[in-house]
Structures are given as C-alpha cells and as structure tokens.
Amino acid sequence: MPTSFPDEFTHHKNLFYFPDASKGTFTVTATYELSHLRALEAEAVHIFREVAATFERPVLLFSGGKDSVVMLHLAVKAFWPAPLPFGVLHVDTGHNFDEVISFRDHAVANYGVRLLVASVQDDIDAGRVVEDTGPRASRNRLQTTTLLRAIGEHAFGAVFGGARRDEEKARAKERVFSFRDEFGQWDPRNQRPELWQLYNGAHRKGEHIRVFPLSNWTELDIWSYILDERIELPPIYYAHRRDVVQRDGMLLAQTRFLTLLDGDEPFEATVRFRTVGDATCTGCVESTAATATEVVAEVAATRVTERGATRADDRISQAGMEDRKREGYF
C-alpha cells in the first residue's frame, strides 16, 4: 500500500464500508473491467466533480429518501477526503414520517454536510400558495413553489436531483444536465444534445441546471448499491408492523396527517415503503423484507417473476404498480 493515509481521516472511516472483495461484485479483473455498479458509480462521481468544478453554487436535494441518500453517499465519496463542497436542501412539506426526519438529521450529521430546509409551510403562511383542503389534500403540488423560491433566494446554479430515467417515459429522455429557464421550466422539446462525457452547464443569471447523477441507475441498481456499500436508510424502508388503511389500491400509513374517510378501516400489517415522500400520499407495500439483502431479492423478483402468464394481483406486482403511481405524483 502506498501510504498510511486513511489513518489521517478517521472521521470518514465510519462512512465508507469498503466492500468485501470476496463477494466478487467489486473485483477488478486482469482485463481491466469494472462491474456495472462500479461503472455507474464512476459515472456519477464524474458528474459531481464536473459540477463542483464549473458551477458557483450547487446544491443537492436531500429528502432522506433512498435515492437521495445514495446520491449524497456518492457525492461525499467523490470529494474524499475533503468535505462536500456544497450543501444539501430539503424541501419540507411538513407532512413527514418522524422516522425520516430523524434519519435526515442523523445522516446530515454523520456525513458532515450543511443542511438547508425550505419549508412549504412558510409559503402557505406567506400566502404564496393556497393549500388544498379535504381529506385527500396533499402538499405535493406546492413543493415546486418552495423549491423554486429556495433556488432563487440562494442563487443556486446547479441543483442535484435523484431522479432516474427508468422511472417513467418522459424521464427516459431527460438529460443529465437539464436546463431550466428563468421560470424554472423544463422544455423537453428543446433540450441540449448531450454527447460523450461533455456536459454543457452554461446558463445565464436566474437560469439553472438540474443535474441527475443517477440517470442511468435502475431501482435494482440502487438497492444493490445500498447493500454493497451498507448504506443506512430510514427504518421504514424495511418491513415493520404498522397501522394502515387501504385506499385507491394502495396501503396508506395511518399518521396524524391522514384524515380517515368513510369506509376506511385501519388494520395492522407488516409493510415496508418503496418510496418516501409526503406522508399523506406515500403508500407502502406488504412485505417481510427486513434487510437490504431481502429487499434486493424482492426487487429482483419483481422484475423477473410476476409477468407473462401469471398476472395475478400478487403483492409484488402491486408494489411495482404503486411505485409508478407514486412517481406520477412527483
């Protein structure tokens, strides 16, 4: 080994669990090949560094959800041993799972990064947005105003998001560096061509670039990476007992933000969340997957088994369906 460097960086040691070479996933062979996860990691790291080198004020969107946790983990790795050269921003709807908020604060402290919170409540209080009412009201739509306000106030030039191209059809076409005009709008018909590793982040004052380092990752890649890197997630991503109600084909957690409707009959079930967002509209699935290994197996099975002839409405297929409904909201 060249030097005794890591000893000087003990404060980082707890963050990075170097993969076990015997597992094979990360082994570099004599023919100079990277495993696909390592190739995706290298691509993401390249993107983080490119932004840090060419933008004045980047920020990383961090909700405590799995994609944003993976994104933060990669960002911190990209700049080792230096601290992350930008902060993280949470757009807070106020309707959070307590576990996620405490995880957010824990992760921010653990990774040693600066957290900025932009609150939807502030915009409601200031009259910039009007909250929907009724039992099915959600604050999802309102987040956009809060996000754009935060970007404007802090003059962020680049905003990292954890969106992936496999999520849905429109996203399949979005660039890694995605231009937003002075009103924060995306024009899918007029995107800059993106070739090789040459990203064009040129923009004027008031405009900004959304940057998606996880563009080429799939849900299974995310979970495999969480497993391999032993990345900590909010506990609600793993199977636990919880009171839920069945609504619109989804299981919704019974929280203080959820107003029960006529016919809603809460019951206890063993569930986990596949995505984590506003507590009023984030559904969970019945699952017994209690570890990252079990979730990887479940996600892999979701892709392999439940199609073709057997389209019974089994649990896993509901999970796949629900994921997309989820992502439709956002």
């Binding site: 061509p193 004027r204 080429n216 392999v304």
Partner: protein
C-alpha cells in the same frame, strides 16, 4: 467481461424497432405486469391476438403522431450476465443529430433492416454514423423474416449487400442475425423456423460480445477535472476520470501543457479506496510526489507517450441546431476533455453526404444534421488524440456563447498538417513500380498453436520460388526491437503495433513480410490492418485456430504449466483473453496437416509475384 453494455439502436417504427425492443424487454422479463396488462388490453381492443409489443415503447410513436420533436430515449434491461443501456434513437432522415448523440457513448450499434425491403439508404446512413462515431460493433438485425418465409437466400442477399458497403467503413465487428421481432424468432431464443441459421440469438450475442478492447488501454491519459484539497489534512489530489491507458503508483507522469514531470504517489478511488491500477472509465484521485501547479483542464500522461498538441486541428463535425449554420469565420467555445477554450472555424473542407459518402467541396456551410470536415483554430493548444485512437480525448463539442446551446459534435482527426511538426514525405516510387510487390501475412493464434512452424515453412517456400520474404517472429523480436516491453495489455498492444509497422515497411519495400505472433487483441490487429490499407498494401490475416487443449498438451516451452501453477500471470488463453479474428482471410488448425501443407494453403492465397 464488461458487465455493462451501452448500445444504440437505429431504425424507424416501420422496421419493427419498437417491437424488437419491446420483445427484448418482454422476453428478458423486464416489463412489469401492469405494463403488460395495459398492452394486452389495448391489443385486444384493436383485435390483435398477440400483445403488440411496440406499445411498450409507444411514448415515441405517440410523439411522432403529434409532431413533437423526437429525441433520444434511454431504456434499461438486464439479464443475469449483463446490464444493458439502450440509447433508442429514431431513424428518420432528419434525426442524424440524435443518432450521433446516442452513438457517442455506445459500445455497439443495433441496426434494423426490413427483410422485405432490404438495405435502404437509411440502413447505410445508420452504419456510417455508427462507424464515424467509433462504434466498433455493429449488429444488423434482418427483421420480419416471417414475411419472407424465413428464406435463407433472402437473408444471404441482404447480408452480402450490407457487408459490401460496410467494407468501406471502419467497423471491426459485423454480425447479422435473422429475426422476427413480432414472433420472437432468434431474439432471445433460437428459432425453430430457421434451421439454416447457425449463429446465436440476438440476446445471446449481446450478452457475449467482447467490447473491452474498444477502450484505449495503451495511451495513459488523465484529464484533471477537479483539484481536491483538504485543509485539515493538507491533502492535495487531482480528481478525474481516466480517459486512456493504465496509471499506477510509482509511474512517472508529465503534466501538460506545463511539461513538468513528477511521480504518482498514490491513487484513490471514490471514498478513499486505494487503487493499484487505474484504468478507463474509473473516476479516481491522483496524488503526485511533487507539488506542481496542476489545474482543471491539464492532462497527466507518460513522458514517453504524449498526445498531439496543436492550436490548428482538423475535425469531422455534425451540426446539431436548426437555429444557425456553421460557417467559416464563426467563433465558439470548445469543450474538450475538461478544458474549455475559444475556437474559430477557419475552413469548411467539405460537406459529406451521409447516404452516398460523396464529398461536396463547394459547400459553404453546414445546417442541422449535416456532417463535414472543418479546420478549427483554438485560442490555446488542445492536448488530444485522434478520435479513432481515443473517443474521450478525441471528441469535443462547440457551444454558441450567445445562446449557450450545444451546436456541434466534433471528432478530431489530427493536427492540421501545415502546422504539424512532421510532414509526411511522399515516396517517389509507388508499389507497382518496384521490382516485386510486397504484402503482409499475419499469423495470429494461441501460444503453441503452430504459428511459427507454419510461418517458417511459408518463408522457405516463397524464398525457394525466388520471392523476397522475411519472417518476423514475435518471440525473436522481443529480444531486440521489443526488448523493453512486457506482457501487460498495453505492452502487448505496443508489441503488435511495432511489429505491424515493421511489416508494413517491409511490405512497402517489396517483401512478403510474414509476422507470427499471438497478437491476442482484435483491435490491435485491426489497427495494423488499417495501417496497411491506408498505405495500399495487402494484408492477409491467418488465424491459426488450434484448440486450447491441443496447445496446452504441446506446451513446448512449458509456459502453460507455469501459467496454470500461477508462476506467470496474464498468459493468453489461461488468464488473459484471446479474441479470434472476425474476418480472417484464412483459418487453419495447427494440428491438422503438417506445417508444409498448411503453408502451401497460405501460399495459394497470395497469388503470383
């Protein structure tokens, strides 16, 4: 084997491309059940008895019907062997821009041909763009075989026509698969309808195709992307993505353009993982032993292997915007590796018709989707390799500083010759004017396959006829010309390059140069072939295809035994790959027939003096 394969697909809906992609997703079970249920429902409503798989990628078609700009869409699927990223680009005439974009990061291009229609202008254009963008592997799917009664003759006809055209292009690996995407024939599973087809299914080919040698592992190139400084620990390192070659701690490196040399002290992966060998496309951080003034945009390389440096360069460009045209005199910002500079277009040499490959030298500008050759003058010298040699250090984009748009994609050809330090001196004699006409016979195969014995017999045979011939034996040359080279991938490539150059000179001088060396990597041999083609010299590749077990049983030098026991590593066939030729002029088995008889078979190919 590379676990991640990036591919670009080209073709229009009419060719059945959506159906083919839908079929790959469906048969690899990438589609979730609710997606499939929706497709089945729609198909039933339309009165179709099978699910219409084109509906799975229907986003694109809907757009077309609405007349919205069609763009590159990325899709993902996986098998237990590989992960695939498809850059799906529409194939209509106006979409050259998108195909260029999709092909820029692809290892492989998939081209669809409708078996009824045969090779169309569009098919040629797709192949040309893939070749221009340096995509070395082309897979041609001859689709709708069910509509031509699964005819072997029709398939052969198309194959021959396409292969004849592809000869003019720079394609190292060309594969044809007869498929019916609609019924799934030869897509994932071998078809029972085409017993005459001896190849593998499309998916099997995609899973197995070896693409690693497409990366440049020879020329060490590290464009510095970002300087990492940690005040707490006094750490200073250069972060970036390896663009070529291998870097190791202890390597002597030079920083360009300053020219200062230093030594690699350590290399760190993301998160501080120590790296003993860094190769493309790893993202790493390099520490040097000396405190040099190195910044973003600089390049680290080996003192003995530097890139080209020039302010005046020739390049092929594709124009990407409809809002303006490329005209001589215009100024742009150029983005090349991690460097930005101002650049002006000095000259438009010609515009290329991508359908006929005709060069229009009278052209005065390039419009959207047009491709041409230009001369560019940059404000500071570019440190680059020709695109053919390295896609990452040989590519650039032009950005219009008024609109911030990316307006051109460029592939560097070389320094503009008037300013290059070395100008090619054209010899006074042509090949035909010499007393004898030379050529190169290149024998490739595993160690102990019998190459050298056959080569020696061939030399004897030719000399006996009075024809000047000379044997260049790989092992012997390692004692002198290549005495400084080891057996790493990079050194093997350099070994082949040097022997190839010597063979070319011998052939040019009128000799039959007979090169006998393992030369395990296809790309290296292809470069030698290209060098011969460029010089107008025949190149005859002979693959001595003796099975590994036979070679290993022979083992005259005891090398296989040493490799198996781990005494030596990186031995071809044991723990280093051998990539057989795809288009060898002749394939021999070293254990079938005596060396004399085998040499006579090569002799028969060479023709008279």
């Amino acid at each position: 084997m590379a676990e991640l394969l990036r591919m670009a697909t080209a073709g229009s809906v009419d060719d059945g491309k959506s159906t083919l992609i839908g079929r790959l997703l469906y048969d690899t079970k990438t589609i979730l059940s609710d997606q499939l249920a929706a497709v089945e429902l729609t198909s039933r409503e339309r009165g179709e008895d099978q699910p219409n798989l084109a509906l799975l990628t229907d986003g694109l078609r809907a757009e077309r019907e609405q007349g919205i700009t069609i763009d590159v869409a990325y899709r993902y699927f996986a098998t237990p062997k590989r992960k695939f990223i498809i850059a799906d680009t529409p194939g209509h005439v106006q979409y050259t821009r998108n195909m260029v974009t999709g092909a820029s990061t692809a290892d492989l291009a998939l081209i669809l041909i409708d078996a009824r229609k045969g090779v169309l202008e569009q098919s040629r254009r797709h192949a040309f763009i893939a070749s221009l963008l340096g995509v070395g592997h082309l897979v041609v799917c001859v689709n709708k075989m069910d509509l031509v009664d699964y005819s072997a003759e029709r398939f052969e006809e198309i194959r021959e026509e396409f292969a004849a055209f592809a000869m003019k292009l720079d394609v190292s690996d060309l594969t044809f698969v007869p498929v019916s995407a609609l019924h799934g024939d030869n897509v994932v599973h071998r078809s029972a309808e085409m017993p005459w087809y001896e190849g593998t299914s499309l998916l099997h080919h995609l899973e197995e195709v070896y693409v690693a040698s497409d990366r440049n592992l020879i020329d060490a190139r590290f464009p510095v992307q970002y300087v990492i400084r940690d005040q707490g620990s006094d750490f200073r390192g250069y972060a970036g993505t390896v663009a070529g070659g291998i870097f190791k701690p202890g390597d002597e490196v030079v920083a360009l353009p300053s020219g200062f040399t230093s030594t690699v002290r350590a290399i760190w992966g993301p998160g501080g993982e120590p790296i003993t060998e860094a190769f493309p496309p790893q993202a790493v951080t390099v520490q040097l032993t000396d405190d040099l003034d190195v910044a973003r945009g600089d390049l680290l390389c080996r003192p003995g292997n530097r890139p080209q440096a020039s302010q005046s360069v020739d390049a092929m460009v594709c124009w990407l915007t409809e809002r303006s045209r490329l005209t001589p005199g215009a100024k742009y910002a150029i983005r090349h590796t991690t460097r930005s500079a101002k650049a002006s277009v000095v000259e438009l040499d010609y515009r290329l018709d991508v359908n006929t490959l005709h060069r229009d030298e009278a052209a005065e500008s390039l419009a959207l989707n047009e491709i041409g050759r230009i001369r560019l003058h940059t404000q500071s010298p570019l440190q680059f390799d020709p695109y053919r040699r390295n896609r990452l250090t040989g590519s650039f984009v032009l950005v219009d500083e008024a609109t911030n748009d990316t307006v051109a994609a460029g592939m560097l050809l070389g320094p503009h010759l008037a300013t290059a330090k070395v100008v090619w001196q054209h010899g006074t004699l042509g090949r035909e004017e010499r007393a004898t006409q030379g050529l190169t016979v290149w024998l490739t195969g595993l160690s102990a396959s019998g190459k050298s014995s056959v080569a020696a017999e061939l030399e004897r045979l030719l000399v006996a006829e009075g024809r000047p011939a000379y044997l260049l034996d790989g092992d012997n040359l390692r004692h002198g010309l290549n005495g400084d080279l080891g057996f790493s991938a990079a050194d093997r490539a350099e070994n082949v390059r040097r022997v190839g150059e010597v063979a070319r000179l011998f052939a040019d001088a009128g000799m039959v140069a007979i090169a006998s060396l393992i030369s395990p990597y296809r790309a290296d041999r292809e470069q030698v072939r290209a060098a011969h083609q460029a010089a107008g010299l025949p190149f005859v590749e002979v693959y001595v295809d003796t099975p590994l077990e036979v070679c290993e049983a022979r083992d005259p030098k005891g090398m296989y035994a040493k490799a198996r026991s781990g005494e030596i590593t990186g031995f071809t066939g044991v723990d280093d790959p051998y990539e057989p030729p795809v288009h060898a002029e002749l394939v021999l088995r070293g254990d079938e027939g005596d060396p004399k008889a085998l040499a006579a078979r090569i002799r028969a190919l060479l023709g008279p003096h």
